[in-house]
């Protein structure tokens, strides 16, 4: 399927629309003008017919009198496009005809009395003309001319005379010339309008789409290396503002995700370098002094430890990746949180003692939650490990658990004077450490990141808070029991 171009499609549609509109307008204009001009033409003929009619009188003796002087009405004698008339009595005998007719005769046609009847006529020579037939009762001459007017006013009082038919005609040529000129102008207009319209449309479309082009250019310039670029369309129209805002929002999130990804990759590489160096150096020593028992024993142990550490790190990273991808296998069951917490507290007693930490557990009995026991245990173990490893020596680690009507809440608190508020969101990122050292062999740096991933998978709300007394409190809120 060919790629659609808004510009081309918009231009094409506008041009087609404009052309059709021009054609329809031209046709309508011409039709209307022709109708109007013909009506005017007819009106002229009709007024001529009425003027001629007013010149016909019936004398008291019944004779027709026609007071026509073509000097007064030169239209009937001019050389160029003269008008013609012919007047008939009811019996078809001709009363008068214009001299302009010469030897020709006009065809007689008639409508109702007092109503004009217009027709196109054709002469024997093939010319076309326009004619009006007007049938009327001629005026009856009275003895007293002074009363004629008033009698004419009342037709009922007028004595009946036979109706007379008058036909006035003129060549259509003058009308046709005007119509032809008009048609030419309209046609020229109809042709020029789309041509001028094409330019106007192209300019308007280009100008109208300029912000879109600018947007496209800016979006194209975004590369993985330039994710800090933000879209700023010059004179952005209101329709593009939401797009611009959404794109910038998307870019921000993409940049953050890219940076996280980059930092994660760099951190993974970095975390693996030290144990790899340990294993490599140990193996090199064994190779260099193969007969040195002391070197062999110590290096083998070191190499194995380093490899184990790498294996653990890789396994935890895989878990983290699976957790982030939502691909952890979950088996929900009823878990006794009280028992699990107490068992873990017992497991960490030795580690806590080594750092002169006391572990205080205060739990409601039979705290029961529906969760995956393996993942939940991993969450709690990591939180215990974090508290026992980083709590200030000589202080206490407090664990509380309580159940309410709607939820189960579990918290662990330890003294953390080195932490500040900015650290809170960071500490759940993989490989975040308060200082740069990688001393602790037992800590991979992904413990709290795993807690985040597992809590998300188990639908447990995870909250971290740093209290004013520098106590770190991590709170888990379990989903309500059914």
């Amino acid at each position: 399927m060919p790629v659609r171009s808004i510009r081309r499609s918009l231009t094409r549609r506008l041009l087609i629309g404009l052309t059709v509109l021009a054609a329809v307008s031209a046709t309508a204009t011409f039709m209307q003008a022709r109708k109007s001009l013909t009506r005017q033409y007819d009106a002229t003929l009709y007024s001529q017919a009425k003027a001629l009619a007013s010149l016909i009188h019936v004398k008291p003796d019944g004779q027709f009198e026609f007071d026509f002087d073509d000097r007064m009405m030169p239209e009937f004698k001019r050389q160029k496009f003269p008008q013609y008339f012919q007047i008939w009595m009811t019996d078809g005998s001709i009363i008068e005809r214009s001299r302009s007719l010469g030897t020709r005769m006009l065809s007689r046609f008639e409508g109702k009395v007092g109503r004009p009847d217009f027709r196109d006529i054709h002469t024997t020579s093939g010319r076309t003309g326009r004619a009006v037939s007007y049938r009327f009762f001629p005026q009856l001459d009275q003895e007293d001319d002074g009363e004629r007017g008033s009698e004419l006013e009342s037709s009922s009082a007028r004595p009946k005379t036979p109706p007379v038919t008058i036909v006035v005609a003129q060549s259509r040529k003058p009308l046709q010339r005007v119509l032809d000129k008009l048609l030419l102008i309209i046609l020229l207009g109809a042709l020029l309008l789309p041509a001028a319209g094409a330019l106007l449309v192209a300019w308007s479309v280009r100008r109208g789409l300029a912000p879109l082009d600018d947007l496209a250019r800016q979006v194209q310039s975004v590369t993985p290396a330039k994710l800090d670029h933000r879209i700023a369309v010059k004179n952005a129209p209101i329709e593009l503002r939401p797009v611009e805002a959404k794109l910038n929002d998307l870019l921000s999130r993409l940049e953050a995700a890219f940076n996280r990804e980059k930092r994660f990759t760099s951190d993974v590489s970095h975390e693996l370098r030290t144990p790899l160096a340990e294993a490599m150096t140990a193996v090199e020593l064994m190779q260099r002094w193969p007969d040195d028992h002391e070197i062999r024993t110590a290096s083998a142990a070191n190499a194995l430890e380093a490899l184990n550490q790498m294996q653990q790190l890789i396994e935890r990273l895989l878990l983290l990746i699976r957790g982030d991808a939502g691909k952890l296998a979950l088996n929900f069951a009823s878990v006794d949180l009280t028992e699990m917490t107490r068992n873990l507290a017992a497991d960490f007693t030795e580690a806590a003692n080594a750092r002169d930490l006391s572990v205080a557990v205060d739990l409601d009995e039979n705290l029961s939650v529906k969760s995956d026991p393996i993942l939940l245990r991993a969450v709690l173990r990591n939180l215990f490990d974090n508290a026992v490893s980083h709590g200030t020596e000589g202080t206490a680690v407090h664990i509380h658990g309580k159940i309410s009507a709607t939820e189960v809440e579990w918290t662990i608190r330890n003294s953390a004077p080195a932490l500040n508020l900015e650290d809170l969101p960071e500490m759940f990122q993989p490989f975040w450490r308060k200082d740069d050292s990688r001393t602790g062999d037992a800590h991979s740096g992904v413990g709290l990141a795993l807690v985040t991933a597992f809590c998300s998978a188990l639908a447990i709300q995870l909250h971290a808070e740093l209290r004013p007394d520098s106590t770190l409190e991590i709170r888990l809120v379990f989903p309500p029991l059914d």
């Binding site: 760099s266 370098r273 030290t274 160096a277 340990e278 490599m280 150096t281 090199e284 070197i295 001393t439």
Partner: protein, 244 residues
């Protein structure tokens, strides 16, 4: 040569201690920045091997502090940070060399030797005294046209120590500090004299004066006797190549 290793990884520290000591290096170690800085201030090490990410005080701070205080000991940064900006920052802060983890042990040793030679102004990798050739890069000793003289790591370390300071008097105390990590059980013992005696037996030729002369009340001096018909401190063809 006396080295200081500041590294928080226990296993790496243990391996480097074992390997470098077997090669005759005297080695002090620290597992955090604070201890590392204290030791670096206390002694004039031939080379300091410094990790960057350390507990308490980070490696860069140690490096800058030492340079600010005028400590000129060559410093080799040994770190997992491999990005170019990290290297630039490290070298700009006054490090003499930068090696990233994982690394080859042999490369670390070669770099340590190169830094030591540079410290003592020895630009070549092999030195000849009379007809005795000491290959500092290969850590081997032989007579010209003759067989290799096999010696223990400690003996070689002592010879190398003398070679780097040839024609200069070195005291017993200096030797103790440099070769025995200052950890001799009995400072008044004659461990140094015995070691010098063993070294003389290995490198001297019967009938010729010893290359290591005793200066009574002062210490020892390693110098060519001039009795062999050749220029002293001749640079071997390999060295010429190295120079180019």
């Amino acid at each position: 040569m006396r080295l200081l290793l500041v590294e928080d990884s226990r296993r790496l520290r243990e391996s480097l201690i074992a390997g470098l000591r077997r090669l005759g290096f005297a080695l002090d170690t620290a597992s955090d920045g604070e201890e590392g800085l204290r030791l670096a201030r206390l002694h004039d090490y031939d080379v300091i091997i410094l990790d960057l990410m350390l507990p308490k005080i980070d490696g860069l701070t140690i490096l800058r502090t030492l340079r600010d205080e005028g400590k000129q000991s060559p410093i080799l940064i040994l770190t997992a940070k491999d990005a170019v900006p990290d290297r630039v920052v490290g070298l700009d802060a006054g490090a003499d060399d930068y090696l990233t983890k994982p690394f080859a042990f042999n490369e670390l040793v070669a770099r340590l030797q190169a830094l030591t030679r540079r410290k003592y102004g020895v630009a070549v990798s092999a030195v000849t005294l009379d007809d005795l050739v000491i290959d500092l890069a290969a850590r081997r000793v032989h007579r010209e046209g003759g067989e290799e003289i096999l010696m223990a790591a400690r003996e070689y370390a002592l010879l190398e120590y003398f070679v780097l300071r040839r024609d200069k008097i070195v005291t017993r105390h200096q030797i103790e500090e440099a070769l025995y990590d200052g950890r001799l059980d009995n400072p008044s013992s004659n461990v140094v004299d015995s070691a010098v005696c063993i070294l003389r037996r290995a490198i001297d030729v019967e009938g010729r004066p010893s290359l290591i002369q005793t200066r009574r009340g002062l210490g020892y001096v390693l110098a060519a006797t001039g009795l062999v018909e050749r220029d002293e401190d001749t640079i071997t063809p390999t060295d010429e190549k190295n120079r180019r």
